[in-house]
């Protein structure tokens, strides 16, 4: 509850600072200080210190799973702002408003990670989506950004419509919005109305996490949106929706697991296949990262498929590993003017430190041992094996992980083994140090995953 109220207030503060403060660097430091505050109050809440005592009638419950995820999300956002907040000012003139929207999105992130009632889920998803449509279209003079925003808006509202329809059908079947009540009656013989509602919810959530065959919006939107906001969209937001997805299907439809398991398995395999195979053929690194985010979503879907203790631990680790690595790569990419693979030629000679950290991020995404990416993929596969069924899914996942090595290593190859002039870049000292911290975090999590996972239990 601490973080929810404070992030909403911070959003309002940023909103006012847009016309009270003229100096951009003050606004930026205010946002970073605000996020630090959020992180601190959230960690305090994990240790039992609550500033606000609000009776939510059990619609929002902050359990360890939710609080741990919120901590990861705030930490990623903090690193993201440290690395890329300056670039936001280049998108348009409303620097403080963009930050306000980001704080509002964080409110939505907190809601979807801790909901116990479908009403809160819906509100959370909407609070995440609406600012995102705007951030996507914030580069107003760029036609591609406009196109992406319109596409995202039309498809996103359509899928929200599906979600509402699903919630309405579920309410019709069970007479309650609470996930506890929905699961209670579902144990006997689930009514057709409940199943139809569940499917509609499943499709709309798959849309939001860009699982195939609902992924068609992703490449265009991620490619068209200003790169700073793509970075935010592809990491923290996507992870939050995944946590909501797991939460919904664990708590509300957990007893129907056997009914929807095969469906999830098919969608997971399809997502893995389409994401990885299409990423191989991309010429632009930004578009490759968009497809890679679909592919990584496929891996995260494995936790939905398995839905056991390993899956939940694995998801936390995956979310952290994926967010940190992707934020790092995007932060480097934003500084470049040429987004093609050729643009990375000879990068290691001109920017050795940046190239080294980018290599660590790419290795983590590919799942090479000693990085967090390896262990998170390992947890996912272990969880999927733990179900004892559908072995083919695990085989597909391993094969696709091997395919992913190809396109991640293409960047590394361009950086180290190809000659090129290198692009002019302005890189400050703090930027470099933040990247090093990020890379260190990834390696640390790859060696000692328990420093993160033990928070789930103690």
């Amino acid at each position: 509850m601490n973080a929810l109220i404070i992030s909403a207030l911070l959003g309002v503060v940023m909103m006012f600072s847009s016309f009270l403060l003229k100096d951009r660097s003050t606004v930026r430091s205010m946002a970073i200080a605000g996020l630090l505050l959020l992180l601190v109050v959230n960690v305090l809440e994990m240790n039992g210190v609550e500033f606000f005592n609000i009776n939510t009638r059990d619609m929002i419950v902050f359990d360890r799973f939710a609080l741990l995820f919120n901590t990861i999300a705030f930490l990623s956002t903090l690193l993201y702002l440290l690395l890329s907040a300056k670039e936001m000012a280049k998108v348009g003139v409303y620097f403080a408003d963009y930050l306000a929207l980001i704080f509002f999105i964080l409110c939505g992130v907190i809601l979807v990670s801790s909901f116990k009632s479908l009403l809160i889920l819906f509100l959370g998803i909407e609070i995440i989506s609406i600012p995102l449509y705007i951030l996507t279209g914030s580069d107003k003079r760029n036609l591609k950004s406009n196109e992406a925003a319109l596409k995202y808006f039309l498809l996103g509202t359509f899928s929200t419509g599906l979600m509402l329809m699903g919630i309405a059908l579920i309410y019709g079947a069970q007479g309650s919005f609470y996930s506890v009540d929905i699961s209670k009656i579902a144990g006997e013989t689930p009514s057709a109305l409940l199943i139809a509602g569940m499917l509609l919810l499943f499709f709309s959530m798959s849309f939001k996490v860009s699982a195939a065959p609902f992924h068609f919006w992703t490449p265009d939107v991620y490619d068209g949106a200003p790169t700073v906001f793509t970075s935010f969209m592809a990491t923290i937001v996507k992870a939050a929706v995944f946590v909501a997805f797991i939460r919904l299907f664990d708590e509300a439809f957990g007893l129907l697991h056997l009914q929807w398991q095969l469906l999830v398995a098919v969608i997971t395999a399809l997502t893995l296949f389409i994401g990885n195979i299409t990423a191989v053929f991309q010429q632009s690194v930004k578009r490759m990262l968009a497809y890679s985010s679909i592919a990584q979503a496929g891996f995260m879907m494995l936790s939905l498929y398995a839905m056991n203790a390993d899956a939940k631990e694995g998801l936390m680790l995956y979310v952290a590993a994926y967010s940190f690595a992707t934020i790092g790569i995007f932060a480097v990419l934003i500084k470049m003017s040429d987004y093609t693979f050729e643009g990375f030629n000879g990068f290691a000679k001109h920017q050795p430190l940046l190239a080294a950290t980018t290599t660590i991020f790419l290795l983590s995404l590919a799942g090479i041992p000693l990085t967090a990416g390896f262990l998170s993929k390992f947890y996912m596969l272990k969880a999927a094996l733990g179900t004892g069924k559908h072995l083919w899914l695990v085989i597909v996942a391993v094969l696709m992980a091997a395919v992913s090595v190809y396109y991640y290593f293409r960047v590394i190859q361009a950086m180290y083994f190809k000659e090129g002039e290198g692009q002019p870049m302005e890189v400050s000292k703090p930027f470099k140090w933040t990247l090093v911290v990020l890379a260190a975090l990834i390696i640390l999590l790859g060696i000692f995953p328990n420093i993160l996972l033990s928070w789930l239990y103690f």
């Binding site: 929207l101 509002f104 609070i127 705007i134 279209g137 007479g175 109305l193």
Partner: protein, 166 residues
């Protein structure tokens, strides 16, 4: 057949017919006008279900304000035959098949469900009056109600970001 049932069937026929007219009409202005008729018929259904406040809001907000916006946009866009995009025949077929599948699933789901009688009070009852609605909104659902203010605030910030001249 009592008066409620007659009204129900009448309103249902009107709603379905006007909804069909919305999607079959070639002229978008007629479509919008038929959509208004649909909204009125649905408002009638709300009144039959004792949701008087919802019915009025539906007429004021949807049939009134939003439909006027629709009409304005359509008139400003100045649509005519030439601007209409040519749709592929296969695409249409695929759309019909996909939509038909959804219809099939929903009909199958709704066909044999037992409607919980106690949830919809048909005769008497003042459930839908503003007083009761407000009480419920500010006691049981006060947290979601307050949270929705964040949603509207972010939408307003967004409108300024998108709409204001740079």
């Amino acid at each position: 057949m009592n008066i409620t049932q007659i009204l129900f069937w009448f309103l249902s026929v009107v709603a379905l017919f006007s909804a069909l007219m919305v999607i079959t009409n070639k002229n978008p202005v007629y479509s919008v006008l038929w959509l208004i008729v649909t909204f009125f018929a649905i408002s009638g259904h709300y009144i039959l279900l004792n949701a008087q406040f919802l019915a009025i809001v539906n007429i004021i907000v949807y049939a009134g304000a939003i439909m006027v916006l629709f009409l304005f946009v359509i008139m400003l866009m100045n649509l005519n035959k030439e601007t209409e995009p040519q749709k592929n025949r296969w695409l249409r077929m695929a759309g019909a098949v996909a939509g038909g599948c959804l219809l099939l699933v929903l009909v199958a789901a709704l066909k044999d469900t037992d409607i919980k009688q106690q949830q919809a009070m048909v005769n008497g009852g003042s459930i839908g009056l503003i007083k009761n609605l407000g009480k419920e909104l500010f006691t049981t659902y006060v947290v979601p109600f307050e949270i929705s203010s964040i949603l509207f605030l972010s939408a307003m910030v967004g409108a300024v970001v998108i709409g204001k001249k740079e």
